[in-house]
Structures are given as C-alpha cells and as structure tokens.
Symmetry: C2
Subunit: 687 residues, 2 copies
Amino acid sequence: MFPRSYILALLVVFLVRTPCVRADEGMWLFNNPPRELLKKTHGFDATDAWLDHLMHSAVRLNSGGSGSFVSADGLVMTNHHVGASALQKLSTPAHDLLADGFFAKTRTQELKCPDMELNVLVNIQDVTQRVNAAVKQGTSTAAAQIARRAIMNTIEQESLKATGLRSDVVTLYEGGQYQLYRYKKYTDVRLVFAPEKEIAFFGGDPDNFEYPRYDLDICFFRAYENDRPAKIKHWLKWSAAGPKEGELVFVAGHPGHTDRLNTVADLEFLRDWAVPESLDRLRRREVLLRTYSERRAENARRAQRELFGVQNGRKALLGRLAALQDPAVMHAREREEKALRGHAGNAGAQSWDQVAGALKIERQISVDLHMWEGAGAFQAKLFGIARQIVRLADESEKSNATRLREYRESNLDSLKQQLFSSAPIYTDLEALKLADSLSLMVEKKGEDDPLVLTVLDGKSPRDRAADLILHCKLADVALRHKLVDGGRAAVSASDDPMIRLARQVDEPARALHEVFEQQVDEPMRQAYARIADARFQITGTATYPDATFTLRLAFGTVNGYGSGEQHIAPFTTIAGAYPHAAENGNIAPFALPQSWMAAKDKLRLDTPLNFICTADIIGGNSGSPVVNRAGELVGIIFDGNIDSLALDYVYTDKTARAVSVDSAAIIEALRKVYGAGALADELQKRG
Amino acid sequence: MFPRSYILALLVVFLVRTPCVRADEGMWLFNNPPRELLKKTHGFDATDAWLDHLMHSAVRLNSGGSGSFVSADGLVMTNHHVGASALQKLSTPAHDLLADGFFAKTRTQELKCPDMELNVLVNIQDVTQRVNAAVKQGTSTAAAQIARRAIMNTIEQESLKATGLRSDVVTLYEGGQYQLYRYKKYTDVRLVFAPEKEIAFFGGDPDNFEYPRYDLDICFFRAYENDRPAKIKHWLKWSAAGPKEGELVFVAGHPGHTDRLNTVADLEFLRDWAVPESLDRLRRREVLLRTYSERRAENARRAQRELFGVQNGRKALLGRLAALQDPAVMHAREREEKALRGHAGNAGAQSWDQVAGALKIERQISVDLHMWEGAGAFQAKLFGIARQIVRLADESEKSNATRLREYRESNLDSLKQQLFSSAPIYTDLEALKLADSLSLMVEKKGEDDPLVLTVLDGKSPRDRAADLILHCKLADVALRHKLVDGGRAAVSASDDPMIRLARQVDEPARALHEVFEQQVDEPMRQAYARIADARFQITGTATYPDATFTLRLAFGTVNGYGSGEQHIAPFTTIAGAYPHAAENGNIAPFALPQSWMAAKDKLRLDTPLNFICTADIIGGNSGSPVVNRAGELVGIIFDGNIDSLALDYVYTDKTARAVSVDSAAIIEALRKVYGAGALADELQKRG
C-alpha cells in the first residue's frame, strides 16, 4: 500500500532519463493538462468540461490519501487503508470497526469521524511572481526565507478571507513555481461502510506491493453540511462493467511525493543516511508494536492501524533502498546529471554545489533535528498535543506573516480540528512508545547531554515516561480547550508535566527548525528552481512537476506484463481469492472473512476483482478514482506493485503497475456479501 | 529464555556492591565450592562425594546450554529450547519436530543429531603459573598475546594426547587464573523425546522472562558410544515429589557470561555503543525473519529456531539496556569503583586507564571488526562454511602453538563435526539474509569502500547475494570434505564463488582479529587480572569468578516474592495452564497443544508445573538440573524472570528468580499426555 505518514524524500533511479515524456508518463497539473499527448498517443480529447468534472469530483483526505464523490448525496469512496485511521478512532474494545467492518443501514446510523477533513479543489491561481517579488535578490537565505514565509502566509490569509475557501500556496517544480490552491472543505464526515480488514487487506504484509491481488480495499464516507448530507454537483457515475483489457483509463488523485529531479548528491544523502536511518526507526517501532500486540488481543486492536503504517513504510523504503544501492542505477544517474550540467552553463552549475552544501548542513543537524524538532525523543500523542498547545499560545501573539507555517491564520481551523479530536488515547501504548523514544534519545545524544539531563529529570527513560504519561491530563479535550483559550498565560501557569516538557525543549527545537528552513530548505529551493529552469529549456513547459500531495491527472492502459510463464494477466477474479486463501492454510493474513466464505455460492465468481494499469502513481494516490473516457468510475487505486516503487524516481511502464479494485467487484460484494443493496443502488443511480 | 548465541559482554548494575557475598549468591567453581557458606546459611554439608556425583552428572551441550544425565543408559535431559537447534536440523517440510514434538518408543527409533556434542567435566587443573610464566613481564602486548596463545594451545594439545579428553584452558577472573578443564565428550547423541513447541514455549515471546509460567520446556537425548547407549556411572536420581516451598536446592550448570567485575568505562561502552548496536541488528533480523516467515508456512518452519533466538536475545538485551540507562544504577557503580580504586593504590589505578584505552581501540575498530571478521556483512551459513575451509587450509600448515585458537589441534575434531554437519541449508533464506547483510555493509561502510567494491563485484547487494548463493556448491558435504582433504592447494584452485569471497576478505579480517587480540583483549586481560587481585585483597579467595560457560554450582531456596496483591507464589500448577490459554483466546502463542486439551481429564491438575528459586543463574544455565540435599533431581532450569536480567551484573534475591520445570510435572506429562510410560519408568528407576 502506498505510505503517506512515513514518506521521506526518497527515490529510485532505473533508467537514464530521456528529455522527453514517455507514453503514459506524468502526474499532470489540472491547469496544465497533457492535451496534446492524450490526443497523439490515445486519440482522446480532454475537454475543459471533462477535466472540470473530474477535478471537482476528486477528494483529498487529511489522513493522507485520495477519494472521490460517487453520489449526489455526498457519498465518498476511498480505500479501507486510507479510512483506517478513522475506523481506528471510532473503534472500542467491544467494537473493532477496523477489523470487523461497518455498515450503516440508515443515514442516522452513519458515524461521525472525530477529526476527518475532506478537500475538494475549486481553482488554482499562479502566484509565482508575487512570491518571488517579495524575496529580494541578493539577500541572505535567512532573510529570503522570512520574506517567502511572510508572503505565503499573507496570500493564503487574504484568499481565505476573500473566498472562504481553504487556501494553500503550493511549491511546484521544487521552487520553480508557486500556485495558490483553493479547496472546499468538509469537516463533518461520517462513516457509511467498511468491509472486514481480512478482505480489505487480504494477503497482509506478504502480499502488500505485490500482484496478483484479491483485495476489496474500499471504504465509504459521507460528507455532511449543516447536519445533512452534502448536495454535490460533481460526482462520478458508476460503471457496472469496469474496464476492459487494453482500455485507456485516467486517475485523478493526490500523489504525495516524488524525487524525479534530485541531484546525485541528494540521492547519496538518501542512500547513505536518510533511508537507512528511517528504516532503523521503522524496524524498531515494528518490533515494539508487534511485541505489544502479541501480549493480548486488545493490544493488537489498539496498535493495528499504526503497525500497518509502519510495516507498509518499511516495505516501501526497503524497495527504494535496494534501488539506491544498485551501482548500475547510480552510475546512470551520474551520467544524466553530467549532461544536464552541461546544458546549465557555469552559473547554473553552481546550483548543484548549493544543493550539496545544504545537504551537508542537513546531515550535521539531522540527529538533533529529528530528536528535538521532529519529536523523535517524544513519541507519544500526548507530547504532540502539548507541543501544539505551547506553540499555538506563542504563535497566536505574532502577526500572521511572521508565524511558523503550521500556525498561519488560514490553517488554524484545520489545526484545531486535529488538536481537539476526541480520538482515544491509550496510556499503556503511550508510555511504551515514549519510554522507547526516550531510550533512543539517550542512545543518540548520550546520557550527559544537557538537554537529555533536563528531559530525564534524574530518572531512567522507562520511569520518566511512566511518570509523564501518568500525570499528564491532556487526554481530556476540555482541558486542551481551556489551555488554548487561556493563551500564553494559561500555558505558562500549567503544571501539566507534558506541557512543561514541551516548553523545556521548545527553544532548542525552534532553533533547529530555523536552521533547517534558512540553511537547508531555502537554499535548496533556490538551487532546485534554477535546475528546474535548465530542464524547462530542454523539455519545454509541456511537463509536470514532482508530486506534492496536490491533485494530479495520470492515465494509462489496463495491461499485464511479462511473457511466457512469467506473464501476469491484468485482471484477477473473485474466484481466485478462495484458492489463494486455501494455499496458505486459510490462516491470517490469508484468511478470508466468514462473510465471503458464506456468500461464495451466491457470488458471480468470474467478476473481475483487481486490475492493473500503467498510470503514473505513487503514495498518496491510494483511493484515487480510476475513470474511463466517458468519465465513469471503473475502479479505485489501492496499491502499486514492487516494481512501481521505482516511480518515485522515474516513470516506467515495463513492469511497474498501479493496482486497483474493479468497480464490478464492488457492486457484487456490496449486494451479495454485505446485503448493502441500498448503497449499491446509490452508487448506480444515474443522475 | 536465556540466550547464548547473542550473548555479548553485557551487564546490569543494580546496587552498590558490598565486598561480601550475599546469602544465596554465587556461581561457584566445583574445585572451590562454598562449603563454609552452605554450612553457615543452610546447615548443609557439601561432601566430596556429593559434589563429585553432581559434577559428573552435569552435561554441557555445544548448542549453548546445560543438561544432566538422568539414567544409567545415557539419557540426558535438557530444555526444549536448548535442544531446539537439533530439533530444527532433524526436521523436514513433512515432519516439523520442533513444532510437533517427537517420541521414540523404542531405541531404534531414536534419531541421531547431525552435529551435537556433549561435554562432561572430568577434572580441573590449575595452570595459572605455567601460562603466566610463558608471558614475559615487560614485553609488548602483541608479544604477550602470541606467547599466551602458544602456551594455551600447547597445554591443551599435551593434555588431549595424554588423556584422550577434550581439554580447554579456561580464563577465570578475567585473567586472574587459568585452569585446564578436561571433559569426556559424546558426539553420537540421539533424540529421544520432545514435547510440542506450544507447551514447551507456552506464552511465547510475551511470557518469555516472565513469571508465573506454565511451560514444559524439556527435551530428552541419549548419549551413545560404539552405537550403543552409553553406560553412565554418575546420573541423577529422580524425585517424584519435586521440591517444597522454602526448600534448599542446588543448580549445576554452565552460566555463559556475566559482567560483575566490569569497570564503569566498560559499562559505558556497553550502554553507549555495544548494546544499542546489537539491538539494532537483532531488530533488523527479527523483522527480516518475521516477514519471511509470514509468506508461507514452510518458511515459518525453516526460520523458527533462528527467530526464537533473535527474539530471545532482543528481549534480554532490552532489559539490560534499561538498567544501563538508569542514572541511579550508573551513579552507584561509579561510587563503588571509586572505593575499589582507593584500595588498589597508584599502580593498580593504572589498570582502569588501561581498560579505558583498550575500549577506545575496540570502539575504533568495532564496525570493521563486526563487518569483516565477525562476518556481519556475510550472514549466510554457506559463508561460514567457506571461511572455515579457507582458514583450516591456512592454519593447518602452521605449528599448533601459532594457530588461531579456534584452529588449535585439540579443537579440530569438534570444529570438523560442525563443518561436516548434514544439517539442512535453505538457499532462499540464505540469499535473503546475505542480501540484507550486504546491504548493511553498504550502509555502514559506504558504496565506495574498496573492500565493498570487491565484495559486490559491480552488482547490487540483492543481485550479488542471489548470485553467490545460486552458484555456491558447499551445501554438498562431500565437497567440503574434498576441499579440506585437499588442503591449501585445493582451496586455492576452487572456483566456488563463496570460497573466493572468503579468501578475498580473509586478509583484512585477520588483520582486524589481530588488532583486537593484541590491542584490546590482551591489555584488558592484564588490567582486569590486576583489578581482580585488588578485589581478592578485600574478599579473600572464598569467592567465584564471572561466568565462562564452564560448570558452576549455584544454590538457593524455593521462594516467591512481593507482598499483598503483588505476591508471586513460588509454584504454578498444571491446572493454571488452561485458564492462561483461555484468557488469551487459545491463540498462538497462548494455544495449548491438542494433546494437553485431550488429556486434561486424566491429569492430576494440582501437580506443580513450574517453580522459582533464588539460585544465582544466567544465560547458559538453561537445562541445568535442580537437585535437593539428597542430590535427587527436583527440576530443570529454563528461564529467569525479568528482574533476573540484573544478575548479569550483581546477585540479588529481592525479586530476581530462576524459573524451573518441576520434576513432578514431567512424570505426569510423560505418562498421561504423551503415553511415554517407558521413558518415565527409565527416569524413576532407582539404580
């Protein structure tokens, strides 16, 4: 499954990049769509109306994935693994919705999610000139960063005031363009339907990033406004038949991050430092959560969503590190960079050195940055809450233009929705994770580090963690409100130990944040902008930027790969799920749910279940609608195969494939496995 | 469970050490037993005959644990987890003896283990003077190390020739004494009985190092000589009743390693470097093996023994690191060292600096040492085989006195038994582990390291590993024989890629080995010998050395701990196993085997199953017999509780406990669960 939470700046290099876009390549902007390419390669005419309808039907979820409107009454379809954090938060020891599934037979039974936000893109405005005009040429990178932050905060706040829409300035082409994205926001989102985890994630970690697959990785929510289902103008009509082999399909979703433009120095930084470090942390967390989960069934329930995220991230990163450690890959990338440097000329060539210089600083501060500002030492939700309360009190007193980006005025509603979430907090798991991260802090910084001494307060990591969690009262949402309402005075007066800890580490953490922004991010932003310009000179502007978790259009054909005995057919069927379970002893993660065993005789077993296509996708695209030429929904992206991990760096359609659930299987399962005919009817309603 | 394979120089500090031995403290030498202490504290008279009988009944297993003779016909009892490596090697895809258990109803059905060696201590001879006389005062540590190795190799070979007994010079008190241990050796060892893993390791990783417990962690082998059951003079009579609460019991076993005499600098080295590094490697291996195991049931079977070892080591090390990171612990240790330094005088005080100096060098070389000499880069059995063949060819041409210790003449038979083992080798698992360790090599040493370039041969870690394993022919035992018989000429001529790899890295690996021996081990040996002398001045010689995987006598009382609601009773019963399973849903690792469910009605449910006592034990003691004053076997050690991990550093009887299976439960289970009445009869035969 595509990870979001653990996305790093990671990439894979496979082939020497050619300066032209490949057949089905691209994560295209909706305001710069690949009209000519589609016409030329597929004879498809992407009209404004067609694009506009698809854009307005696409949905972004703040849990880190994509989705789409699929009815006039605000019904949203996404993946089970994208909805998983909401399912986890809605679960109790007695009702494990993530594992057992859920179906609201009536609208009154739909369950309100504690902190979900949906975004629907309304329009895009180029603000590159205004941003760059605010950053004076020849100033220090510190001054540049302050000026850039100020203008971005300001543009967003002006836009929010003027339109009432969520307004985000997005950095494209690593700094080559700045565009203002405006979204309609839905914050009353209710759970309608989820299948059992057993079928949603059938095959589990072993089958993750593999194909063939047999997963019903879907989940339905409904957007509400004023306590009633939202009335939606643009939503995707359902295709009962699904796609055919060889058919052209389109994907509208929110790819999170790609690194197709990174310098070799940046690749080496990832290979030699960032990726191995992240993997060590993920493995550490994986072992911790598995041992916790094995102790009792209730523990497993509490940790399941996080454990999935960790394992998913680990598998994705391992695939990427393998590519980075392939000498053939790196040598090819070196050759390509040499060619591009030639084009860039002397002035441009400095840009590569500037990236390398920034990376050197990043490496120097990275342990401290992760430990203090990244809260690597404080892996507990209660610490995150405490820090936000502390910073919110400080930042609120500043003018909008000078605030940390996270606390800009236009973002406060979204931030507070998270901060005041009623999602459950499990103190045993909190204490375990905090003890482990404090232990990591001692390992990385040493027992004698002044800040370590302050944090531990004379205690062992285990005792200090137990103490902090035991006495912290921030699980109480009312107390959070009280502290935020009381502002800096209330926060300063608080004797909550977690608030005190967050205050104690805030100054050094902020200092590291500033070094990163001014000495790493800003110089890289400037250098990569020039490198992007050099590329534009070769490729022209009929191209697309790296992924930024903003809406993109991809397209491809439904095709298998390999040949002879190695041929992988594009479709699997419902029939195939049963032997796949049986071959693995019907034991988790290869156990089919009871509902599917019981419904077997009723099901049309030749119904296509999953399919693959050549569309250019990456983590964040999970839940993206797949539509046909008529704009009808034929499937939903839920994964890429192992070879698709290379797409972080470069597009290839040789063996890399996006993996989707077929629309036909969704209807078949809703009607015959889940007795959810009303939901299927809503999906199949034509207008 | 007590780990052996992953034992490091690790320790835990809990209390300020007092210069006198506590009530039930001590891992005593059989040639310096605690006669006075036993008399004084327990009124027990340990006669020569009593000690002699126990000593000759105790058995050491080369898989890293302890055991005892329990019949005149060579029957040996140890733990299931000590016998696990033999069970794994005897298993096939169709017959998983480790999981499902085994019972040879007749002697002809007993299964010969591919490479097991049992050692029974015959006598001990002090050779301190001879060793020290060979090492000239005032020479360099390099010369001292060479001289010391020469005399040790020589003494052992002389003894082997003269007596025919396995002869090992053992370093005691970290260098304060050298003693020659002579063992009778059994190499034809056959499997008689093992229960299912479900009951042997009931509770799995969650219950490991915990109490109360409900485990039947036992396994029976039989020693053979000349293809007939060995006739044994000294074996332990069985106590049908087991021990009583408050009773004095004795443990004769082979504790592997303790660190009760480490300097603070040594503790800091462990805390800040060695233990975190080991834990990272263990977690990495744990995740690798679990993902491999989850893919299919046969994978799980192949990896289960190694996965247990890794998880066991991880849990033990985490406990120890927690103690090392407790500031209270380290401060106490600092105060104690200060006091001891005061006693040692000026000359003695240099010893601490010498230890610190050696540690500095160890830290400098440790990554390289682990990667090349420790084969951290080459985690495949086939590489280990290749290296031994390469080194055996080189070392065999040298005189015995100048050989690496492992290849000394007196050790060659044992070494060859391992090297020519017919234990299965799984190429898929080999390739997976090798790819991961080659990837670790790139992470730690960098892509441009000359040796890394040589090792990878232009390929990615994954491709190189696949290539090496695919073309290596050393799974064929006959080929190993051929290469060893052919000596250096045959090895040089071999085009086996693993042999070539082992030769390519041998020179740098040997160089690191030499630096370690001459600049780390020898100076520490000398310094710790002087520190030990300083201690002798305080404690006298009525004391015991740190554990060295040689036979020791420990003793203690059968006692619970804690009070009120926190009281832990010393015994569990067979009855308790059933609710413990039910409370955890009867799901692995809390599932009882079918045999125990079926036999429930027949069992005397109040039979004691496990018990705890205050004896001073550590990893390596697993499988040790527990005997009463009459020398009858009342139980078998299989674990320590979490608090007992502190025993690595200092003895405490407050809450630390050794955990045993009760002799009564063993008879009850053999007769009523396993229909193994004949085996029970053999155990209960009185003469």
